[in-house]
Subunit: 341 residues, 2 copies
């Protein structure tokens, strides 16, 4: 029987379409085998081609004598420009701001042939440290209102560049989507006196059926009203509004958690195209009691069509409980050490 479920955080409805339901394995990608070389002479992100990117803003390790493992560089085709001033114009119904902003590329590894899901967790920790370093630096710039960290993996997820990389865009405005999530969370806090994310995490830990993985500091789960198949959230178990609040031991644990979840998707669904994004309270809301940051991983297994665009509601053809069970059971090397709840 189909069911409508309401996202607790956004209040948006999702149709869980059991009549169209697929078994999780039916959604696997079945990529043709492809050999990717570890070095591509024309790739601007490969070692030796460092002059093909704009000058780097961050390097790990910082010591220039060592080979780098992570580089952060300005996006050569940046959506926004750091040299403009954010000037607001209001003319009748039209509101605009000059295109001030920062657009970084985080080159995740020197190895062109790697996929993030198969990197050692120590390398993923370096990527996360680069995210945090840039997130913190930009959040302290008074002209920046919001920092969005995201990754596009595969063509259906919006990238054509093979070399593993993620991106960060810092904007002089808070997006309406983020503003509305903050407002919903604040309304909940004002009514019930608790963080709605903390409440949901506690309930899910008790009920277990939508849990994918539990580690020392994090929990990975499918939302009750998950909008798309295998959309997986990773929440810190202690209350933190901003990604900038993460401690160094938590970064190490998040690296292990993210790696296991990505590897479960990689092995279970044959390297699906996916996006992930860090949803964090913006700088002006650091330390609030009502919001809770998390990582949202969105495999791109189905297409957004006219109903989703026209209504905002999604039709999910995989029961979130079935997706969680499938991912709990997906075997990956190194996962046992992370604990599987």
């Amino acid at each position: 029987m189909p069911e409508l479920r309401q996202n607790f955080f956004t209040k948006e409805w999702v149709i869980i379409a059991t009549e169209r339901a697929k078994r999780p394995e039916e959604l696997a990608m079945h990529h043709p085998p492809k050999v990717v070389p570890p070095f591509v002479a024309t790739c601007p992100f490969c070692p030796g081609n460092e002059t093909k990117t704009p000058p780097e803003v961050l390097r790990v390790p910082v010591d220039l004598v060592q080979p780098w493992t992570v580089r952060v560089v300005p996006n050569k085709f940046a959506a926004l420009s750091p040299t403009l001033q954010p000037t607001r114009t209001i003319h009748r119904s039209r509101r605009s701001i000059s295109g001030f902003g920062v657009h970084d590329v985080i080159i995740e590894t020197p190895d062109h042939s790697q996929v993030t899901a198969l990197l050692p967790h120590l390398d993923i920790a370096n990527i996360l440290r680069a995210y945090k370093s840039r997130h913190d630096a930009l959040s302290h710039d008074a002209r920046i209102a919001q920092v969005t960290i995201f990754k596009n993996h595969g063509k259906d997820a919006g990238t054509s560049l093979e070399h593993p990389h993620s991106q960060l865009i810092a904007t002089p405005v808070i997006s309406n989507q983020v503003r509305q999530r903050l407002q919903q969370a604040l309304r909940h806090y004002d009514e019930f006196g608790e963080c709605m994310f903390c409440q949901m995490i506690e309930e899910e830990l008790e009920e277990k059926q939508r849990i994918v993985l539990i580690t020392e500091h994090f929990v990975a789960l499918e939302l009750f009203a998950s909008p798309t198949p295998f959309c997986t959230h990773i929440y810190p178990r202690r209350h933190m509004a901003s990604f900038g609040d993460i401690s160094s031991s938590e970064i190490a644990d998040l690296a292990r958690t993210l790696r296991v979840v990505l590897a479960k998707l990689y092995h279970g669904l044959d390297n699906p195209d996916f996006n992930y994004t860090v949803r964090s309270a913006p700088a002006e809301c650091v330390g609030v009691k009502y919001f809770h940051w998390y990582v949202s991983i969105i495999p791109r297994l189905t297409r957004v069509a006219g109903f989703e665009l026209g209504s905002g509601m999604f039709i999910n053809i995989v029961l979130p409980e079935a997706a969680a069970e499938f991912l709990r059971n997906a075997k990956v090397e190194g996962a046992a050490g992370a604990g599987s709840g």
Copy 2:
């Protein structure tokens, strides 16, 4: 220089990324030539295969002796079921409603090889009449809160069925996306005493540069903060909150307008995949002074990636003014009669 523009209705920001800008013709699809037969024996929507669909709920013409030009049938793989009762369950953080709803397929023509953009406008008027008939009937059902009419054309727009068709899903809830647009519009009305859509239309008609087409009763335009390239809106020029308020002469004019806009996209961009949707005030808001229905046509020329998913902001690589100019100049037979403003 890049620019951030704010959608007047949703308040969401859009990055107009001029540094990544494409000329409109660079986005054309370049489909390989493909011969589609007018009849496919295995197609459930082709004439003679009427028993392969669930029993029809509407037929044009109603006279069973005549061959049909439009059929409306229940979707065989419906996302929601009309035989359930909408029962709400609240259990801790989880809200759900049993999957009551109606899911129709509108078969637009008996000819398998047609594309909607090339149908005679009299045939499109029949399709629109079928939309209105089902919209009105379902809006009078007290269990239905929202009726979403939409079309998916092409694989990137979420359809694999070639035979021209559109769909309608009636839900027992108002989606949060629609609710928030209504709230923004109501806030504007309360502050300024006018419909924000009427205000925008008046301004755009004066400024001309984002106008695609003006007909007797409608105006087609690109939004100042258009989220995606060639996203085109068709607004009725008189104030109407609900699609159900459309008159029969307006239906005839909308058919001509929709046909010309779809044909401009078809010829100008080489038959792009697209969605369209009718955005209308839900049944409980019929007759309100603050909302204004419209048709939104969304060509699927670029991919939604991690930044859009993570922030809600879109990056548009075509200046809306350039898209409007391109579509104004795109030649289609029969367009002159519709007037081009």
